[in-house]
Symmetry: C2
Subunit: 466 residues, 2 copies
Amino acid sequence: MIELTPVLDSKDTPLYIQLAKYIKQEILCGRINPGEKLPSKRKLSVHLGLSINTIKTAYEQLNAEGYIESKPRQGLFVATFEGDISTVQLYPQELNPLPEQEKVNIKLDFNSGKVDLEHFPYSLWRKLTIESLYQDQGELFNLGNPQGELLLREQIATYLYASRGARCSASQIIIGAGTQVLMALLTMLIGKDKLYGVEVPGFHRTRTVLQDLGEKIISIPLDRDGMDIKLLKNSKANVVYVTPSHQFPNGMIMPISRRMKLLKWAEDKNRYIIEDDYDGEYRYKGQPIPSLQGLDTMGKVIYLGTFSKSLFPSIRISYMVLPISLINIYLKNYTIYKQTVSRLHQDTLYRFMKDGYWQSHLNKMRTLYRKKHGTLMLSIKKYLGNNVNVIGENSGLHIVLEVKNNMCEEELIEKAFKSGVKVYPLSIYYQNKEGYNGSQVLLGFGGLSETDIDAGIRLLKEAWMI
Amino acid sequence: MIELTPVLDSKDTPLYIQLAKYIKQEILCGRINPGEKLPSKRKLSVHLGLSINTIKTAYEQLNAEGYIESKPRQGLFVATFEGDISTVQLYPQELNPLPEQEKVNIKLDFNSGKVDLEHFPYSLWRKLTIESLYQDQGELFNLGNPQGELLLREQIATYLYASRGARCSASQIIIGAGTQVLMALLTMLIGKDKLYGVEVPGFHRTRTVLQDLGEKIISIPLDRDGMDIKLLKNSKANVVYVTPSHQFPNGMIMPISRRMKLLKWAEDKNRYIIEDDYDGEYRYKGQPIPSLQGLDTMGKVIYLGTFSKSLFPSIRISYMVLPISLINIYLKNYTIYKQTVSRLHQDTLYRFMKDGYWQSHLNKMRTLYRKKHGTLMLSIKKYLGNNVNVIGENSGLHIVLEVKNNMCEEELIEKAFKSGVKVYPLSIYYQNKEGYNGSQVLLGFGGLSETDIDAGIRLLKEAWMI
C-alpha cells in the first residue's frame, strides 16, 4: 500500500482539501506513480485518524480532477498521464522582472497626448459618477447596447451638429474604447481587399493598426492644404484616412475647396473617407470649419471623434459616425461585438453633456488652450526667433518646430532631453522616414502650464545653442 | 457688386460670425457664384453699417475656411469648388429611425450573460470609486501603462496563483476591455498564417472574432472529456482555443490526463493553447481544478480571464496571461496599442482586490450560485423529470437542457417565449450547425432569484407540455 503521511496542519482549510492537495502533490512530484492502487477509504481512515467521510470527499475531488480513477470492483488507482508530469512545478515561475514604464527625470514634457487636468471639474465629475452609481440600482451593471448607451449617443449627435457641423442621428453612432478599437471594427464593416490611403506624414498609430489588421495601405503625400488629391486619384486607394480639421502632425486645416474635391473623389462606388477629428474642438482663429461629414451628401464619410483630448485621455471613450450603408452592415452582422466602454462611464459622460457642463468645459478649455498657445508662440519668438519655423499653429494641442541649427532630429531630441525637456520625433509619422527632411520636432503643450511652457522653450534655446 | 443683405439679429453671436455664416450660406446655396468678386471691406462696412474690423474678421474667417480667396492687388473672390456645392444641405439628414434594442415582455430570462447583481456590494464599490477619484488628483486621468495598471496586475497575479493555480508575474498580464479586444491583440502577437482549432460546440463569439480577423479556423469536436486530442492531432491546427474549466456550452471539466495530453501536443514548435477560463471561479463540487496555465512548463499556454462573470459584465475588464515568448513580442512591437480599460475602473478594482473584498465577494457569490444551482436542479427534477437530460451541471452559471418531447430547438424556444420565458439556442455554438442534433437549449441562472428559477422551470413544463 502506498505510504501516505500528510501533514494536515492548516486550521483554515477543510481536512479533505488538505488531504487531496497532499495526494495531488505526491502524484505530481512523482512520489506516487501512475497506475498505483490507492488505499481503501476505510484503511486510510484508520491510518490517518480521519473520518471516512473526509477520505471519501478527498478521493471524489481527486477523481473529479482526473488524478485518480476508479476501476469497478478493484478500487481506486492513480491515473496514467501522457505528459511528463514529474516536471510540473507547483510554484510560480521565476521571472526576470520585465521593465515597467521608463521613469526619466524630466522637468518639462511637451507630450502631445497630455491635456490640461488642473482645470478639470473634479468635484462635479465625482458627483455625477456617484449619480451614475446610484442610478437604477444595478441596471447599469448589466451588459448594455453593443453600440453604446442611447442617451449618450443622442448627446453626441446633438453636440456634433451644433459644434462640428456633422449631421447624424444617434443610430449612426458607435461608441468604443479608443480609435484603435473602432478602426478594427470599421475595417470589418468596410470589408476585405481594400487599399487604404493614408496621409504622409500622418498618425503612425492608424497606419500601424491598419497594417497589423492585415490591410493594405498606400502613402499619399500632403501639399500645403492637406492630402494631395491628384496623388490620391492616381493611387488605387478605395478608402482614405484624413485629419482635415488639424492635420496630424503638420497642422494644416483643409480648406473647403479641397474638402469638396475629396468628397467628389469618394463618389465612386465602394469608396470611403475616414475623417479623424481628433482635436477639432480646439481652433484659435475664427470659427471651426464644418467637418467633412457635414458636407457629405452621398454617405461616404466615416467620422471619428474622441473624448481623449476634450475630456481626459484615460477615460477611453471614442466614437464613430457611420453612413447608413455601413450602419446597416453593422446591425446585420457585427452586434456580436460587445461594447468596450464601461456603462458607468458612458452614463456619467451623458450626465455631463446633458446638463451643459460639457459645453462650458469646452469653452473654458478653449480659452485656456488659446492662452497657452499664445504663450508658446510668444516664447518661441522671444527665445528661438528666426532660428525656427513653426508649422501648423492655427489649432490643436501641438505644433511642429523646424529648427535651423544644423542638428538632426535625433540630436535635437537628445540635447533637449539632457536639459530636462522632452520633445518628440516627427520621423515616426513618415512611412520608413520617406520624404522626411530631418530637422523637425513635435511639441504638445496641452498638459503644461504657461510658466512651464515658457521655461521649456527657454531651456530649448540653451539645449540647441541658438 | 454682389448684393449682401444679411439679417444680423442674434444677440448671443458676435456680428462677424453672423456675417461670415450668412455669406457662407449664400455661397453654399448657390446664390453667390464661384469666382465672383466680393465687395471691399470699406464698401461693405458702409453698406451694412458695420465696423471695418467686423468685415475684416468675417472675411478672414471665410478665407481660413477656404470659401473665399484673395488675389494680390485684385481683391477677394469666391473660391472655385470642384464638387456640386449647391446640393449641400445645411440641416441634419432625415433618417428612418433605426431599431434600438428589442424590448420584449419577458417575465423570466435565462440569459447566461447575466450575473447576480442583487448581492453586489454597491455601497462599498461606490466608496472605492470615490477613493479612486480623489487619488493623486488628476494622475489617473492621464494615459496609463498600455498593459494596464501595475497594481491591478499584481493583484490579478496573486489571485490567479492562489485560486486558479496559474503561475505568472504581473509583467505577463495584459488587461483589456473584453475578451474580443484581447483576442484581436493576441492574434497579432501569435502572428500570421496560423490555423486555429476551436471547440465544436464552442463559443461563437471567439469563432466569429477569429474569422472576422481573417484567421483560419478548424472545428475540433468534443468527446466526454472535452476537446478530442486525437482529432486535434490529425488536424493541422497550430493554435487551439479551449475552455477546460467549464467547457462552453457543454460544461464538462477537462480531467488532468486530458490536460497533460493537450500540453504534450503543444510542445511542438510554434504551437499555442488559448485557455479561456471565463467562469472558472464557480464550481459546485470540490475544489477547482488547476488551470492549464498552471500545469504548463513550456510556455505554451495563454490564459484568458474576465471580471464579467465574477464582478459585473458592464465593467468590461478582462485580462490575458502571456508566456514569456509572447510578452516579449508584445513589449517589442505592440505597446503602441493603448490600454482600453479606464484607469479609474482599474484603480477601483485594485482597491477592491487589495483589501480582500474581492475574495469575500467571490466566496459569497459561490455560496449564492451553489444555492441557485441547487434550486435549478431540484426544479428540473420536480417539473421536468425524465423528460430532460441536464448537461454540464458541475460548475458555471449555465446548464444545457436536452428535451425529449420531440420538439426541435426552435420550437422549444418559441413555446417558452410564448409562456414568458426566454431560453437560448445551442445551435449557434456549432459551425453551420454541423454535428448538432437539435433538441437542446441553454439556460443561464446567474441573474435569476431562486423563486424565479423555480417559477421559470414550472412555466417551461407547461410550455413544453411535459
